[in-house]
């Protein structure tokens, strides 16, 4: 396969979250914390609003008491096609990959936090404290994901270590990667099947079809960041 053919075959990974199906159980948040070695919030970090949540449920309150409607919108990193975060990084610690995943190289990050300010979705988190887990959990970290030290910025990676594992398996079995073989932990864990993941450039894929649906929208679309996470608003 030459370089041009390879470029054509490259997927553009994206996510669709159906807000009609989401019941805000936070299963995605828990799955993400476990998968990506994110230390659980402490009373101190919560009080200072410094807890790390790669997948966060954004609250949206409508109406006034007693007629209040609370909507919770799951918010991972949007993996924007035009990401503002990588433009401001002075050391090249964050970059967009060929398949559209925004990478964060912790060893390069100097912790200046320009990117956390630049991200309009507040999807980036600074490690204010050294990571700590309860004793029972400290021995069951995921060996496929590094433990980030204090002083670096981190964010959702679309669980790209899972992509590599799936690719390795496909290569060992001498076949192409099958659709649905690579899913981030949040998508896999969603009990109401509200999350979809796949190649946005493949017109036959479920995510590409859902992303084109009339119900589809993206967060802060007018900023021109072109996020690759689509939401489906309430249906008929």
């Amino acid at each position: 396969m030459n370089e041009t053919e390879h470029a054509k075959a490259r997927p553009r990974w994206g996510m669709v979250i159906d807000l009609d199906r989401c019941d805000a159980c936070q299963g995605c948040t828990t799955a993400c914390q476990t998968e990506n070695n994110i230390p659980p919030p402490t009373p101190q970090s919560a009080a200072q609003d410094r807890s790390i949540r790669w997948m966060e449920l954004l609250p949206n309150v409508e109406g006034e008491y007693p007629r209040v409607k609370l909507r919770l919108i799951p918010r991972p990193c949007m993996h924007c096609d035009k990401p503002p975060c990588i433009k401001v990084c002075p050391v090249g610690a964050t970059a967009i990959g060929a398949e559209g995943i925004i990478a964060q190289v912790y060893a390069r990050c100097i912790g200046c936090r320009y990117c956390t300010t630049a991200c309009p979705y507040t999807a980036r988190y600074f490690n204010w404290y050294p990571p700590r887990w309860p004793e029972q959990l400290s021995q069951s970290l995921n060996p496929d994901v590094s433990v980030r030290p204090r002083g670096v910025v981190e964010k959702c990676s679309f669980c790209h270590h899972r992509l590599q594992k799936a690719r390795d398996k496909a290569a060992a079995e001498k076949r192409e990667l099958r659709p649905g073989e690579y899913l981030p932990a949040c998508v896999e864990a969603c009990p109401t099947k509200a999350m979809f993941f796949g190649d946005l450039d493949d017109p036959r894929s479920e995510v590409a079809q859902l992303a084109r649906s009339p119900r589809s929208f993206r967060l802060l679309e007018d900023l021109g960041t072109e996020p690759k996470v689509f939401y489906l608003r309430e249906g008929e």
């Binding site: 390879h6 970059a95 990478a103 912790y106």
Partner: protein
Amino acid sequence: MAFDYLRGVRSLIPLWAILAGCGSEVHQPVGYNHDVHVNKLQIGCDNCHAGSMTGQVAGLPTVSDCADCHAEANGTSDEEKKVVEAVKANRPLVWQRLYSIPSHVFFTHRRHVQSGGIACERCHGLMKNQKRPPPAPLVALTMTDCINCHRERGVSTDCTTCHR
């Protein structure tokens, strides 16, 4: 004052200690001869480095691996005697790692050797011709070597390929 303090600290650290620290040598418990095992006896790398084809790390042989051939002395060398003694006493041979990878780099032998079909020599040099264990890696690998090889083979050079 600060200048005097620095001079005092420097005098405490002799130059030889700094040089020794920079090029620290690896000493192995036995003067293992790769040339005899690989070239003469045609034993494959994965016989002793069990993970070198399919594992994440290549690994180092245990004394029971040596026992397969060295339960009794096959020759007359002093180095073999050390192995036979260790096998008989069931005492582990503490081999030292020659290569180490920083914790922020994710590397698997499986991906490179089995899936990529890269020969061991590409990163480890002509280890098979070594008559004594080398005190330092034969090839000093840097990230530039990784990137160049990835480019040559048209493999992804995205940060996430190696850094997670």
